[in-house]
Symmetry: none
Subunit: 254 residues, 2 copies
Amino acid sequence: MQYTVKQLSDLAGVSARTLRFYDQTGLLKPEKINTSGYRIYGTRQVDRLQQILFYRELGLSLKTIQAILDAPDFNVIHALSDHHKKLSEKRRQLDRLIATVEKTLAAKKGEKIMNDTEKFEGFKQELIDKNEALYGKEIREKYGDEAVRQSNEKWKKMSQADYDASSRLEEALSTELKRALKTGDPAGQAAQKAAELHRQWLSYFWVSYSKEAHAGLGNLYTADTRFTDYYDSRIGKGAAKLLRDAILIYTKTK
Amino acid sequence: MQYTVKQLSDLAGVSARTLRFYDQTGLLKPEKINTSGYRIYGTRQVDRLQQILFYRELGLSLKTIQAILDAPDFNVIHALSDHHKKLSEKRRQLDRLIATVEKTLAAKKGEKIMNDTEKFEGFKQELIDKNEALYGKEIREKYGDEAVRQSNEKWKKMSQADYDASSRLEEALSTELKRALKTGDPAGQAAQKAAELHRQWLSYFWVSYSKEAHAGLGNLYTADTRFTDYYDSRIGKGAAKLLRDAILIYTKTK
DNA sequence: GCTTGAGATTGACGTAACGTCAAGGTATAT
DNA sequence: ATATACCTTGACGTTACGTCAATCTCAAGC
């Protein structure tokens, strides 16, 4: 069997550059060079390459490998037994390493959950307060104390899962809004999808959804600099205004 | 406590050159430079160095380590998961390699003949090959070569962003499945959410989605020990079966 | 005060094992 | 005849430092 560089490299799973490099260093010379200057490898080279890769896997330097393979008393069977032993050992090492990574990962995840929970609690309280400050009076007047109490209850009961889900929605909204910013068209597909996501996201926080309230919140986004800053800095300049316009269109047409 | 390069290098067991190099790349800047131009390290730097060496031990690149240390809560889990994946891949490859050594040894001893392809069976580690090995045969039989080819094409073109997104989905799936395991109910909210996430995840790998194919893959999860082991070890005992059942319900009812 | 040896500094080049262009020649199918 | 895939030889880039060289600083001993 005869192979060119590409053929052998495909066979062995190494790059053509690697084979040229091995030729250059004398580690693996081709069987011959044809009239066009192409490297041609034969079966003996294939076998030698296999040996090289075994040793390479063990972490030996190419220099060392060459010395081993070119030693006059090199014994293939002995070498292979040796490979087997060392590879098994290496696998045990790798297992230990993986276990360590897993442990670290578990610890970090634990940390993150605690962190998120804490963040979440703080975030919840903040939002309840903000909600109360923004809408409390108005809603109280319109729908009575009971509605406000219910809303706040819902808030407090909001589970971690809900929070996670709403976070994911927020991320999706952010992505969509970024896309929408490229065209800047509030009636476009991306912007309308963003508005829809925003409605879904809202449903995690409001007891009942109404188009008017949604539109009202949209207006707030440009009227209140805290919101504008939040969206513009996280998503891009003009994001708050774009979202507002998208919501206005969304609530009117859907 | 304050240290010069040599003192810190002795303390931490790294060379002074390493510390200078870390300074140069910004990975570990000294606390201050004294009037003679000496680098002076403080306690915070000692702690950071410890972190660096820990992650270095795990095999992460200095670039990655810097990213982790400079953006703690965001990057670390993803980076470690990523690394874990790589290490696991490496482990699987090692297993195959050991098998190849055994085979080669048997061939040499028994004068059996191995063809050139067999000689390198354990060495290749491309994702596509692996994907092909895992899903190829089954899917090929059921849905034809074209589907597999297209899927491989999709893989090749899959961008880093997609990869990241699919990793996140995988993580979310894992979380949801763990939650579902607590009740064990495949029709429950968590399990159904897991099935949905699994569908989303799949969409990153399959060109076209069909309920039948999805259900088929679900069945594979319990029929094939490779999958069962994977899910059960990573998520919990019975995870594979639960996911299968959830998928079956999901594909029938949605 | 002077010497001496350890330790500090900034370059700058070296190393391993390739990866990645660039510029050009070759084989082959249409 | 041309497109495409594959071949060639440079030559520079990469990672994580090692290894000089030339020079400066510090603490100790005489």
